[in-house]
């Protein structure tokens, strides 16, 4: 999850979790099935267009609204490699980190990226390179605590270590 390259799909502000993953599918548990409805409320055509590694770029408050982890699960299983947004809803951000989805805060990103641009995202260094324009856009660096989670490959492997040490 450190360095990814893919095509950008750009969205506006306040893409909430009902748009990322509509409530009517919350009873699904198979991750692949969950992936099929990714972003359906915002852009029902996206799933068909996505290629593995593609990147979602959004304005402020991406993932606001409900705490459903399905939102992050659907993005991961639709093979979205990273989400770069001007800010994130807090619970979505935690869910994404816990599950190993790269999420990067980058102010003004929607002004600097066009739909379809090819981006390189360096998550640990916190920058985005627009391969079409050559511009490098610096985002926020992650905290040490979050880096720990990521270095372990998500919160689950980190916790497994703890529980197995307890015997």
């Amino acid at each position: 999850m450190k360095l990814v390259t893919g095509k950008a799909y750009v969205y506006g502000n306040n893409i909430d979790t009902d748009q990322i993953y509509p409530g009517r599918y919350l009873d699904l548990v198979d991750p692949m099935e969950i992936g099929k409805h990714c972003m359906e409320g915002a852009d029902a055509s996206l799933v068909k267009k996505l290629s593995p590694g593609d990147i979602i770029v959004a304005g402020r408050n991406f993932g606001c609204g409900s705490s459903r982890e399905h939102a992050a699960i659907s993005l991961i299983n639709a093979k979205v490699s990273a989400v770069v947004a001007e800010s994130f809803g807090r619970i979505f951000y935690r869910n994404a980190i816990n599950l190993g989805l790269s999420v990067l805060v980058c102010s003004d990103i929607t002004k600097k990226i066009n739909n379809g641009d090819i981006l390189e995202v360096n998550f640990l260094e916190g920058y985005v390179k627009n391969k079409n324009s050559g511009e490098v856009i610096q985002g926020e660096k992650i905290s040490d605590y979050i880096r720990d989670i990521i270095d372990s490959g998500g919160i689950k492997p980190l916790f497994k270590k703890i529980t197995s040490n307890q015997g």
Partner: protein, 427 residues
């Protein structure tokens, strides 16, 4: 330090915490709702065996009560098995209600506690002076194992609300006005304290409405200093002994926003954003297909009472459906005892099982494309209550009831006047 910082300091075994610091805090109570079977899978996947404390974790079956699909039924079945195997002290099955109502009712919420639930509206419990916050399934599974969660100590902003509302204007109108003014991302990653003369003496139900919708501004948690009404409520339901914490006099809020609400009119959040708020007097003519009173925002006895005042002895518009879902069985019983249920059913309302109902589009009143619903709930995102092509207008229970009567979005103050005879277009 702010009270919220003192709560985090206590729970993480520190004398002092500062904004931005990450702490590992002990959770006093955790709740999983019935969308989150994943928590159990993740619990075992991470090596969990027994939950950290069987008295401090509960499941609430509210989103799918009673189950609308085989998949949801399977979730309930597996959760019940887990509850039984783990011997959890508290369990709220389909005969309880919405988690944010049944937890305070059952006495597990108290001032100064940390409450974490798999639901974003856990900010509701700021009404009781608790630090309430929502998390996803994986975070919850880590709590089920360890009883702890990492928190970033948030900045606290102050939303000061002064004045008294006019008749027909409810707490829901006040918070919609605040939301419309400040926007849906004003408090992302921050905590909100609500202060001011309006809040000081406010009743428990109204406080819950305001703290409930704090999350629609992005807040991590919300807080109100408990007043006597809150303390009485908690003492009547819980044996828990707690110290009332105070914010230090030298504490400075990251920001203060002030509101004066004495002249406020009923408010409406227009489709499709919670902060797209205008005054009812500026709302264009909107034909209403469905009116909905219920949820963790608008399903309490006070809300049903307000609806009864408007609808008693009348009939709703024949082209409009009115769905009423009490937030809990306790609320339902109270509404029956007071005769509200009878009056409302006679007026043409449809009652349904206490729980979330159609709030998140799962069942019991989802909308078809092109339909319009005026609702006492808290979110109007596209697709929230069924079709992405339906339109949701958020309003107070009074406005919802009045709109059911007239068949179009209407100012409830017109109908609360004794001498007002409203002529519906259908005679």
């Amino acid at each position: 330090m702010h009270v919220l910082e003192k709560i985090l300091a206590r729970a993480s075994g520190k004398d002092k915490v500062t904004t931005g610091e990450i702490v590992n805090a002990k959770v006093d109570f955790a709740e999983v709702n019935d969308l989150y079977l994943q928590t159990i899978y993740s619990f075992y996947e991470m090596g969990g065996n027994k939950v950290w404390d069987k008295d401090k974790l509960c499941f609430v079956f509210d989103h799918y009560a009673p189950t609308p699909t085989i998949k949801a039924a399977q979730s309930h079945k597996e959760m019940r098995k887990f509850v039984e195997e783990q011997g959890l002290t508290h369990h709220f099955d389909i005969n309880a209600g919405v988690c944010h109502q049944v937890m305070p009712e059952s006495g597990v919420v108290w001032p100064g506690m940390i409450l974490v639930a798999t639901d974003s509206h856990t900010t509701t419990h700021g009404a009781f002076g608790a630090f309430g916050t929502g998390v996803g399934a994986t975070d919850m599974a880590t709590i089920m194992i360890s009883g702890q969660l990492w928190f970033r100590v948030p900045e606290v902003i102050n939303i000061e609300i002064n004045g008294n509302t006019q008749p027909g204007v409810m707490a829901k109108d006040v918070i919609l006005h605040v939301l419309g003014t400040l926007g849906s991302d004003v408090a992302v990653y921050k905590a909100i304290e609500f202060t001011g003369t309006y809040i000081d003496d406010l009743g428990v139900a109204e406080r819950m409405v305001i703290c409930n919708m704090a999350v629609e501004m992005g807040a991590k948690t919300s807080y109100m200093k408990p007043n006597q009404k809150v303390l009485d409520y908690v003492h009547n339901r819980s044996n828990k002994e707690f110290n009332l914490l105070e914010t230090d006099p030298d504490f400075e809020f990251a920001k203060t926003y002030s509101f004066e609400i004495s002249n406020l009119c009923p408010q409406v959040a227009m489709p499709h954003n919670v902060d797209n708020v205008i005054s009812i007097v500026d709302v264009p003519k909107v034909k209403v297909d469905q009116a909905f009173i219920g949820t963790c925002t608008g399903g309490r006895i006070e809300d049903i009472e307000e609806a009864t005042k408007i609808l008693k002895g009348k009939k709703i518009n024949p082209t409009t459906r009115l769905i009423i879902i009490p937030a809990s069985n306790e609320v339902f019983l109270e509404a029956m005892k007071l005769g509200y249920v009878k009056e409302l059913v006679k007026a043409g309302a449809t009652f349904s099982t206490p729980g979330c109902g159609p709030c998140l589009g799962a069942h019991e009143g989802v909308l078809a494309p092109g339909e319009v619903c005026v609702t006492a709930s808290n979110r109007n995102f596209p697709g929230r209550m069924g079709s992405t092509e339906a339109s949701l207008y958020l309003a107070s229970p009074a406005t919802v009831a009045a709109s059911a009567l007239t068949g179009e979005l209407v100012d409830p103050r017109l109908l609360l006047k004794e001498d007002y005879a409203y002529e519906t277009s259908n005679g």
